[in-house]
Symmetry: C2
Subunit: 509 residues, 2 copies
Amino acid sequence: MRQYECFELTFTGPEPEGSWAQADLRAEFACEGIIREVDGFYAGNGFYKVRFYPDRAGVYSWKVTGAVTAEGEEVCQAADASARGIVRASGQHFTYDGGGWYRPFGTTVYALIHQDKNLVDTTMETLEKASFNKVRFCVFPKHYDFNHNEPPFFPFEKKEGGWDVHRPVFAYWETLEARIRELDAMGIQGDLILFHPYDRWGFSEFSREDSLVYLDYLLRRLSAMPNLWWSLANEYDLMPNYNLQDWTDFAGFMAGHDPYGHCLSNHNCMAYWDFSRKEITHCSIQDANVIETPELWEQYGKPVVFDECRYEGDIVHSWGNLSGRELTRRFWTAVCCGGYCTHGETFYSQDEVLWWSRGGVLKGESPARIAFLREIVESLPGPLDFLGDGLGVYTEGQLTAMQEQGAPEAFRKSFFHMAMLNLPRERVRSFLTKERVALGHCGQEAYLKYLERQCPSLTELDLPREGSYRVEVIDAWNMTREVVAENVCGKVQVKLPGREDMAVLALRQ
Amino acid sequence: MRQYECFELTFTGPEPEGSWAQADLRAEFACEGIIREVDGFYAGNGFYKVRFYPDRAGVYSWKVTGAVTAEGEEVCQAADASARGIVRASGQHFTYDGGGWYRPFGTTVYALIHQDKNLVDTTMETLEKASFNKVRFCVFPKHYDFNHNEPPFFPFEKKEGGWDVHRPVFAYWETLEARIRELDAMGIQGDLILFHPYDRWGFSEFSREDSLVYLDYLLRRLSAMPNLWWSLANEYDLMPNYNLQDWTDFAGFMAGHDPYGHCLSNHNCMAYWDFSRKEITHCSIQDANVIETPELWEQYGKPVVFDECRYEGDIVHSWGNLSGRELTRRFWTAVCCGGYCTHGETFYSQDEVLWWSRGGVLKGESPARIAFLREIVESLPGPLDFLGDGLGVYTEGQLTAMQEQGAPEAFRKSFFHMAMLNLPRERVRSFLTKERVALGHCGQEAYLKYLERQCPSLTELDLPREGSYRVEVIDAWNMTREVVAENVCGKVQVKLPGREDMAVLALRQ
């Protein structure tokens, strides 16, 4: 047993008489007076397993009851340097159990595990070389344009008129787990999508009861694996089978039955899920409006992740033909506004292997740029928050506060600003986001200003008057960095080349 | 006297005893029983003038009373081929009094007439060569960044503590009129801005009474000139001197005292003017959200003109450093959504002559592309309306109608569409505009689809099944047109090069 790693106990016992998904098996793990209860699962062939995620080192005593009775003691070693544990929302950002910030730079391969082994291997090799640290993929296979292949196996056995959720296909789950472990070894979080509408087999038509059996089995098997997030659905609002109460109940079930509290959200097509609900850990958004990250943070008070902002590619669908430049922009904008973004790629290919769904190799221009951005962001002393300071970068919440508490004198002096305070809220919001420049900061340690489509020959930074900063001009598209000033502070003017996709970084020396 | 051209009567008389702006002079023009009353004006040096715009050919009898008494008869010749008369809003678009569509492709030179003669001459030469047919400029001089020069003259004489609106500076008005006539000869509408906040001289601080005297004098002098529009303000909402009632009253005054009903609107910085008011002829918008043209048309029922959507340039201000590509996009999007757009250019120059305010020469990349677009659009048999047909291109109003009247069967069949009908209105709007492709049509005669930042390798047109169309692929940036199909109809697939800024035109053969 090792801290932050999945620990597994295996037993033999009689085949379950009833449900194979909800086997009668529980375990208690106790360490220094803290007791955690977990459910075990039937793993086929007369094997029972219990998995456990220890978040502290020490001596654990364990006791298994139900179909198997056993007890024992296990020394949990302190974490390996490479094991960082479960990722959790922390304010506007994410941290590892083992300490340190986790900054999601994700990608999307919906039907990753539903491909032939060779193709999944290729996908894994691609992920190994790429710079993504989160991948969104589905438990169930996918049927959609460019997704017509039959998967090698299904999560459950077929029965007359549907699927028998009480009979898991063990080979499926073992393969899934092996891939999750591979991702873990690469430092990649699996953002596992539990339901989705793109289906020809009937997995999107489970009864409510069967849905809960499925989730229960999934949690028994997977919850002790550190590198997982739960995405209740891809596009919950396109699934006629479930209503809003079902989704609320599924969220409650996941939060209530996951002993470890993995990240949990629900992803929309058109209408955002209500991320303010207590069991939801972060915003998982489908929308292109990354510039509104500060408003979303104000509204929900949780990390903002644009898990789909359209994809780089060339297919006919409007969501699948962004240029690499445009997708790169959305990453920069989201990140400099204090949020995060997720990649996807949809270049048409006659073999219908498009990265966004089936994996394979990456062809686009954005991954290298996203890696470049990630490198910059991870070199900063902490995550970036949006800096609402100056014309056009206020958020609605800041304006409301000024209205209620009285605006600072300098603000009130300008009629422009007074007008802003008195305009209808809806118009203010639209105006503010229109005028906004994505300016992130990490305390007074670092400032990252991204100019996106703006092409100024000059930009200004308003750095603290105390302190000494090194200023770099960054070309987000051509991936160049140039130090243009050292030991500066206060108002600084920075010359720029007058083209799109430029950024300026000021780092405290 | 010639139809659609400004006719002028000049008299001598005693210098007015009171106000020189509101001289006692009226005239009646009668033709075939239709009588029009107009006010004349004092033109200085003992001259009085009456101007009149005849919208029909025929024999006119006229009678002047007040400071001058006179009468006479005048034959009004039928219009010259080149004289097309006043432009008027007509549904979602504009027509000339003399017939035919007017499609605004405007530019902005705020302080056009407040420059040295040489510079204004240069500006006029530039306009002659460029392809703009509307120019926004101010009556009053402008003080702002890059606008520090003193104008050669002012509209009124100075008095202790302000300006004497009862004493017009005749040289100023004569120069203004000469420039308006030059624009007319080039086929360019003057979108004259009557008030604006960027002022160091006090013109933005007129009393309400003085403001009305000024407007009265302006109408007496200028209203008979055919190529003028009235823009009540540039950024009315940044002028602390006037409140909403003042603006409403100014609009009413202009509509009530302009005998000819020139186009009239009021231009915002942050909050749109209420374009639904009856005296407002069209929407004159400052906003970047050109994709929402269909919603604005639904809301106001008047032509939608984005008179500022930011400018091509490289200055530090966020509104003044768009790439030429980006400004070109906004034109294409507005036009294919049934609206119109206005150009502006702000490349920094050490002599502070930036086109957007002081004129001079054009340096940017967008004017040639805007000319290319104008040529295409003017070659169509009529103006373009937005085609709301198919996923993601519905407007809010269309959805509401479907909710109220029942959606078509094909629409209801899809859960996706049903979800759309039941989502909160605000989210639907955001989703629809996000997914929208700018697709304009001219009845069944022409379809123009603009793909903006989308880079598909294939796009689809859903043409009428009856009819025969020629299909062109257009590169809006590189300004190329290629016929890719002839004699096609119904659903047509069109191959594209998978890069940004492409458009497809289908024209009935």
